[in-house]
Amino acid sequence: MENTKPPGASAWRTDVLIGGAGFAGLALAIALRQGLGESFHVTVADPALGRSHAGDARASAIAAAARRLFETIGVWDQVAPGAQPILDMVVTDSKLQDVMRPTYLSFSGKVAPGEPFAHMIENPALLAALIARAKQEGVELRTEAVTGFEASTDRVTVALSSGEPISAKLLVAADGARSPIREAAGIRSTGWSYDQSGIVTTVSHERDHHGRAEEHFLPAGPFAILPLKGRRSSIVWTEEKREAERVVALPDDGFHAELERRFGLKLGEIALAGPRRAYPLGLSMARSFIGERLALVGDAAHVIHPIAGQGLNLGLRDVAALAEAVVDAARLGLDPGGPDVMTRYQRWRRFDTAAMGVATDGLNRLFSNSSDALRIVRDVGLGLVDRMPALKTLFIREAAGLTGDVPKLLRGEAL
């Protein structure tokens, strides 16, 4: 609608300004441009656009619904060659010293014939593909931070770190778990930290994983082995916070020994194949996902326990819902940042997010505990799930993000 500075105007104008160039911010920008075309101006501002992401060892599980979104916005082809399908998934519940880890739950990981329920992708590759696509779609990328903003009746004026103000119809906070935009808007978060950290690293191994993901519920928390391309796996290893810091700081051979105790030898010799870092774990949810001409997406709106690998997928569900609400309004000639659009987005997302937060928190509390009584309860529970095909299918479909009132992009439909 507008992408120029009209003579005499005090600020540059854009339609939607997105603060934060992570997965959610970039995917939203691409979806909006594709849905609304050349005349709808979208700007993404993030100082990190000027930095390299090579040091990020994290990988993400892309659920089927999220993959459909990436396919629809034209990013999947770019990352598909490096994406490892998860073909089956094994869950065990063990003490660290147990030699045998009995399997309580196993899934063949398909939501439909030929459609794996998730793929593993390394974060830097996905980010690079999103940035490339955003550029192709004509998204304006600015290596700057949002430093302040003020909403008026029909626009929001956003200050960037260069000191230059931009006037937009809608500001989107996609600036991560400690979202400065959310804080500046005075939106409080509720939640807690788990006093646990997730140690993230990459290993290579002698034998092929055949696309199998494993989650071992060890007393300190889940230890996940997630398959990557080329006889490598991504490790997400939960430990009590101080123990995690100690383990990460160990010299390579010491770290290798600790890792091997947990990883086991069934894939042969393992070798460290990437940097390691501990990320503090917590659960938080913004009290509101919206403000005056403001919408929160991704980690800025909610951070959940990574136990079920749902954080990114939840963020992409925000993207799909907000993109659809904004596109629908703009095609009616209505204000894309007006209260009707904001309310529709919030209603669409909040219940789903709260449910997922409660579910992952419950899983973590149930499994991060060495009490034998709890172990028996959860083992019986998992054993039952394993024997009930319908419930298992529901688990898989929920994990794949295919239940509930699903926005178009997650169904693989263009806006």
């Binding site: 075309g37 000639g333 209505l334 007006g338 209260p339 009707d340």
Partner: protein, 246 residues
Amino acid sequence: MPEIRSTVDTDEVARFSALAADWWNPRGKMAPLHKFNPVRIGYVRDQAALRFGRDTKKLDSMKGLRILDIGCGGGLLSEPLARLGAEMVGVDPSNTNIEAARAHAAQSGLAIDYRCATAEALAEAGEKFDIVLAMEVVEHVSDVSLFVESCASMVRPGGLMIAATLNRTLKSFALAIVGAEYILRWLPVGTHSWEKFVTPNELEIAMEQGGLRVTADQGVIYNIIADRWQLSSDTDVNYMLVAERA
């Protein structure tokens, strides 16, 4: 201007004039209309796109269509359609409404031809349009058939008239009068008088007398769970009719 017999009810004009300043506050007195707006604009856009072969996904889907918005109020319907490219003429018998609508259009950077006039006066002047809209206005006029006849006469051959109004049923009395005005307080008491509501059949007859043929009817209901208005086959309370001039 020659003396023209008018269908405007003066009490009704005074009531809406008092509301003019609040037109554009989505959380103010006009909140119910702001809530209703997406569903009626969507219907008008989709019907226009169907008739004139437009792509509803385009941001200029109404480009070049000359549309008349009768009883335009503060411009809640005219502005979005103008933004989609329509050449809008908005008329309202209340000068306060027209002044409010003009001021807001200027602020939005939209060129809309707002006139303090009546449908009858425009018809008399021989104005023609691709689409004539009478949205939430039929239930406020004093002579429905005269009003509809004036509207219909301004529809070009091949053009449309779209009207949205309230049905006169027991259900509409319960929901639109008792529910919306007395219980939910969505609307000031006295906004509507149930006796003036028009049944789809009465409206269809009036349209046909004006030389139009009704091509579609559509109910609109309020979904309490989603807190949104949505299209429905239930025409007992809110409904819309589309008529075409061959």
